[in-house]
Symmetry: C2
Subunit: 360 residues, 2 copies
């Protein structure tokens, strides 16, 4: 059913469909350029919860609930759930998603977690282990500041290279493209997924390139973009080599949350290796806020950043056929406050997904 | 290639083989009843590192290195690596395994992470995405005390229900059982895995039951056994129902780290539902230390507990044919110090793996 295209890539000959998505965000995200595209923007970032961590759990719960509601799906129809966040021991997911009672895989890849979730969720379907899986990630500005830097009450200053953790959660429901697979001997059994979709799938996942942990020795926790840019470059180069493709084969190459500093580093890094990404690169961290108006310094970041941008803007562009094929690259900085305080570097990782319009 | 046996289970018709394992532990584990079975026991729990977190990273690095060395395998022969630990943002794995440069999936399921890693690692192979995968988990008593409770210097007292976090890491290398699959049209392509093993596989993974997040409202972070017992019971009941099996179908049913308090709760819970596990149940947390002599209160716990016991004692029993078939059930308590301090409950999760002797 699948072919290896290289040491780190998988191509799905029978692509996995993204049949629903939902995004729930906070006030700053709602006021940003993509505000009108999110399914819900809270005016109160506490969501009425007792603390920021509980608010983040509610974001996940609401995002998955909305993604299911849009297609009339019940939790018992989802075989496996892949979810994670940035908090210690991934508590936003553990507390936010437990009551759905879907068999659960907790994952962690820092802000790349959305890419890891979609990769594993698609693999579970393409491997024949499930008809339907769901993927959820989240972050919250206030819980992330407490987790990684300082509680908001401390009022610390932020350098211009710092990014702003997105308050938001994105959820995705994936399903096998079984109609196309029918007739192939190696396809899933017939009748495994009888229900017709209520609407056209948003996009299809055609393959992935799985990232490695890259450590370029950078130690600045206020400059995540610089830490993550080498990981994004490494995965892009590996992807193009494995798949025999060039940047021109994609309408857009979209990184997760490099921000303006990381984008510059990525473009420079690739240019030195003979690859020009300038025209077709965009970054979810730069799309979600208005840099002039919203004072977010380098841009947005966090597990909720690329997840909410994918769930809203990117999937809409694919569904409407404005883009035929994109490379989606969630990026993650693998640090904790403990490792930072101990003077360690900030390794990073980036996973790539090939997303195509269902019309292409 | 696989069949669904129920909403949470997978049976692998072509089982995945565990072709190598290794265990590296600290001093207390080396002095315990299984001491002679571990591949290495450090006398100095710091491993000569600058801090406890770095020591834990070294445990992972050494465990995976030893598992590869035993069968002469190189990092580039391993397609995907699934790893995790208990520290915030899973830093033991990020810093311990980066230099192997194997495409990486970070995972988090508290002390159940070993079960999640083996499940995903086996799925990646059985789904046709990889020939060989590796799974690594770890914990360290001193880094876990700092992460979840108090730094050792504080000298806090521990109640008798508390468990003792195992200092250790277990690593496993999995491979598809392609010789048996040959001739089946749905099997992997011939020649995908040509290398013959240098020795007999240790065991084979025949299937799994994926756990749900269970929350019984318990809030005592010094009684992990009671928090996790309902999750273990839930997964055992789901497994028996999905597979149409009874406890008598297994030579041993081995939980991860319930300890003595959790074991009693599990047996009581299942007895009320008409299932008697007393005779064939054992718990890695009770096997790894000598309760009389080593003052560990309820028993061992942590991501390193069931991983090191599986990598040493359990796989040896299967390899030697003393056991034909076991159910292996890593258990995890999904809390953080933040959620504990905010008065939240301790949800739990447990994944089941069916492991069989290759002679059976």
């Amino acid at each position: 059913m699948e072919r290896f295209l290289g040491k780190a890539s998988i191509r799905l000959e029978s692509p996995v469909e993204v049949i629903s998505s939902a995004s729930v965000v906070g006030s700053k995200e709602g006021e940003g350029p993509l505000g009108a595209l999110f399914d819900k923007a809270w005016e109160d970032d506490s969501l009425g919860a007792k603390n920021w961590e509980e608010a983040e759990s509610l974001l996940q719960k609401e995002a998955l609930g909305k993604a299911m509601d849009k297609i009339g799906m019940k939790p018992e129809e989802i075989q496996y759930l892949f979810a994670g966040d940035l908090l210690g021991q991934s508590i936003a997911s553990s507390f936010g998603l437990g009551e759905f009672q879907i068999p659960f895989f907790g994952i962690y890849g820092a802000c790349s977690t959305c890419g890891e979730a979609l990769t594993l969720g698609a693999m579970a379907i393409a491997g024949g282990f499930a008809d339907v899986t769901a993927c959820v990630t989240s972050s919250h500005f206030a819980s992330a500041e407490r987790e990684f830097r300082f509680p908001l009450e401390y009022g610390n200053q932020r350098p211009l290279s710092a990014s702003w953790t997105v308050t938001g959660s994105g959820a995705f429901i994936l399903r096998g493209n079984f109609r196309k697979a029918a007739g192939k001997t190696e396809g899933p059994e017939e009748g495994m997924c009888e229900r017709e979709p209520e609407r056209k799938p948003l996009a299809r996942i055609c393959g992935m390139t799985v990232g490695r942990i890259e450590d370029y020795g950078i130690k600045d926790s206020m400059n995540m973009g610089a830490c993550m840019a080498p990981a994004a470059a490494s995965t892009i180069l590996q992807h193009m080599e494995d798949w025999g493709r060039r940047p021109e084969d994609y309408d857009q190459i979209i990184t997760g949350d490099l921000g303006s500093v990381g984008r510059t580093a990525l473009l420079d890094f690739l240019r030195e290796r003979g690859m020009d990404l300038e025209e077709r690169h965009s970054d979810c961290g730069m799309l979600i806020y208005d840099a002039e108006r919203q004072d977010v310094h380098a841009g947005g970041s966090g597990c909720g950043c690329c997840a909410t941008v994918l769930a809203s803007y990117v999937l809409r562009q694919l569904r409407e056929g404005f883009w035929k094929r994109i490379l989606f690259l969630p990026t993650g900085a693998l640090l904790s406050k403990t490792s930072f305080n101990e003077g360690k570097t900030v390794p990073a990782i980036c996973h790539a997904l090939v997303l195509e319009s269902v019309d292409s």
